[in-house]
Symmetry: C2
């Protein structure tokens, strides 16, 4: 039947990280590869109680088809929640999604014709790459800098490409604690990125799953809030990192004309998001002590991060030529190794030593791959696993260097 | 921002029935328009208990990301469940979806390039039309006959189109109690459709949400079972009509190479289906008395159907020229009015008389629309509503005829 698949699907292999994870199901392996929040910080009691209430109160509506854009209760709760982040929107500016991944996919389906251009950082989020690859996207992608996107480079490249008759469809960024690099975009760059988008009439897609997870430094306004509802930004958000990933609920915000089309697409794609799952998110926003909850997550994750950074200092002396980012929040950091080391090859050697990471390769668009980096998740492993895992990682790299 | 949308999305309006439903939120209106199972037959106790158990036993896995293809427990439970229908498959032949609509959308994304051909009945399921429209599909569509698809006509048209260098990508059918017509495909036609698919190397997509809901007559083998795992059929299934729609869980079955690609697409689309929702479906299949449950639904719905058919007899004497199907199961029947009546126009008049239906128009592909029919759901309204609603419907049509 293969010959009947579309051309792009014949070569499509999906979300590459997912496939890597199957190599590391062995419990002996210490994994820095996942993108998992730790279950220690899931508000289990709230979730249990909210599920029970939802199936008691209006169970007949819960178990029936429900509105495609989402439950009014949840949309209103999100609208109120966003005010704390200086985002002020109306119901016509929001759609509930069945996860952040779903939110990204809606963007791809609405904007991308085959071979259309996306502007992005290098590296960037693997899930976005997987989704946009289904639409046969091409990239203007520039190395991310210490303070975020290379906005000047983007301007130059966009201009060049418009002159060639190819205007990019959107600029995709993760400004806060980017997955995979852990880098945060400065206020200055957020403002210039916004101006850049306006100048060329290209929307900014701001993917923001980690924003609440800041462990040090000052919160920087989101690009969405900086735009002050002028309609230049589409925001992608999720409950996965602030509540839990398993419920599969998120939300997109943006101009009404975009949200309306997302609703149409969602209707043909999956219809509604389960009301049971939405009700739990509503209870979380309305009934839970969010400040205390976020403080708990922040304390938990930042301890892990500090512990990880300390282990790196101890195990990677300068002469090894290994560098790593020092994120101010989020779940990931990014390790760069000397160019003569191929981290995809290293991955299989690391597995033999019972430690795992995500080879950087899969976090670049297909035709722009690089092999000198790796993504590290520090939130899921225990402190003991971090200490031992970083030791093993250092050992694997030393062995590799010694063989050359 | 509209000018940046893809060409097909600029004109896309989604699942048209959904938009009609917003006209009929007034509780005074008796609606035959929805496609809703009645909440009276939802197994509420089972669902409550299963949700509680899921959030108690392995809550940390329930709230975490989970496997994209689906939970092993549920896939095994479905594999066992399908044996009662003489379908014998392996885990590589199944993917859990986030609803039947999602299962349809996966098919469209895997197979359809812009302007690709689908073979289907006229009329056909509106959700499928909405999903395939996103891929810019075109149709070879033939009037459905009393015993199902016009297989001979399909053969002729497929041949013609292959001679013109355009081989259709798949044949989409709902063989059991088709939505919207209520018509069931005969065994003879199922076998010839299967031969037809094999002859031309075109897969059959068998959408089967209502199969268990047979109220009279003998069960006819599914096309999937008739194929005996030769890999010519993709089955689309859902828990919506046998358990409840609100959980948003379904499953696709088919050749391993197709299921693998569905998994990749699902990964870039929404990642996993929520485990909580899957666990409830597993409990339903493993712990519930399915025979008694199905008997209950069948008794409930068939009483409604008989009552509806009787009301039609009483209110539509032959001279009115109105015809309707007499389904053996499912949730829908199909009314055809004399050609001088436009049912889309009639819809707004009916709303004024507080009765609603789905105008047939929206159940045809965009360039093949017809206006002399309507879809009726008989399972959701009460008997009293059916009696009164059919009276009103007859009145509206009489008034319309008198004015001409």
């Amino acid at each position: 039947m293969k010959e009947l698949f579309t051309k792009i699907m014949q070569g499509y292999e999906g979300y590459t990280i997912g496939k890597m994870l199957c190599y590391i199901s062995d419990p002996k392996i210490i994994s820095f590869a996942g993108g998992l929040p730790n279950a220690d910080v899931f508000p289990l009691d709230l979730i249990r109680k909210a599920a029970e209430t939802s199936l008691k109160q209006d169970w007949d509506q819960v178990l029936q088809y429900s509105a495609v854009p989402g439950e009014n209760d949840l949309m209103e709760a999100v609208i109120d929640y966003l005010k704390r982040d200086d985002i002020h929107i109306e119901p016509e500016n929001i759609i509930i999604t069945t996860s952040g991944q779903h939110g990204i996919d809606l963007v791809g389906r609405l904007f991308l014709e085959p071979q259309d251009l996306i502007v992005s950082d290098l590296p960037t989020f693997g899930g976005a790459l997987a989704s946009f690859e289904m639409e046969d996207a091409k990239y203007i992608a520039l190395d991310i800098e210490e303070d975020g996107s290379d906005v000047k480079g983007m301007e130059r490249e966009i201009e060049k490409s418009i002159n060639q008759g190819r205007k990019p469809k959107f600029i995709y960024v993760v400004p806060d604690f980017q997955n995979p690099s852990g880098i945060t975009m400065s206020l200055e760059k957020r403002l210039s990125l916004l101006s850049l988008g306006k100048k060329f009439g290209i929307p900014i897609v701001e993917d923001s799953p980690y924003r609440e997870l800041r462990y040090r430094g000052e919160t920087i306004p989101s690009i969405y809030s900086l735009d002050k509802n002028q309609g230049n930004v589409i925001g992608i958000n999720t409950f996965s990192k602030i509540l839990c990933p398993g419920l599969r609920v998120g939300f997109n915000i943006g101009p009404a004309e975009v949200i309306q089309k997302f609703t149409f697409i969602k209707g043909g794609n999956i219809l509604n998001t389960p009301k049971l799952n939405q009700d739990i998110c509503t209870a979380f926003l309305r009934e839970y002590d969010l400040e205390t909850h976020f403080d708990k997550i922040i304390k938990y994750n930042s301890e892990k991060l500090n512990f990880f950074l300390q282990a790196m200092e101890e195990n990677f002396p300068e002469e090894m030529g290994v560098k790593w980012t020092k994120p101010e929040g989020g779940l990931f950091l990014w390790i760069t190794v000397p160019e003569n080391i191929n981290t995809t090859g290293l991955f299989y050697k690391a597995i033999e030593e019972n430690v795992a990471f995500v080879p950087g390769e899969v976090l670049y668009p297909k035709d722009l791959r690089r092999y000198d980096s790796m993504r590290i998740n520090f939130s899921y492993p225990t402190k003991e696993q971090i200490a031992e895992g970083v030791r093993r990682l250092s050992k694997v790299i030393r062995q590799h260097q010694a063989q050359r």
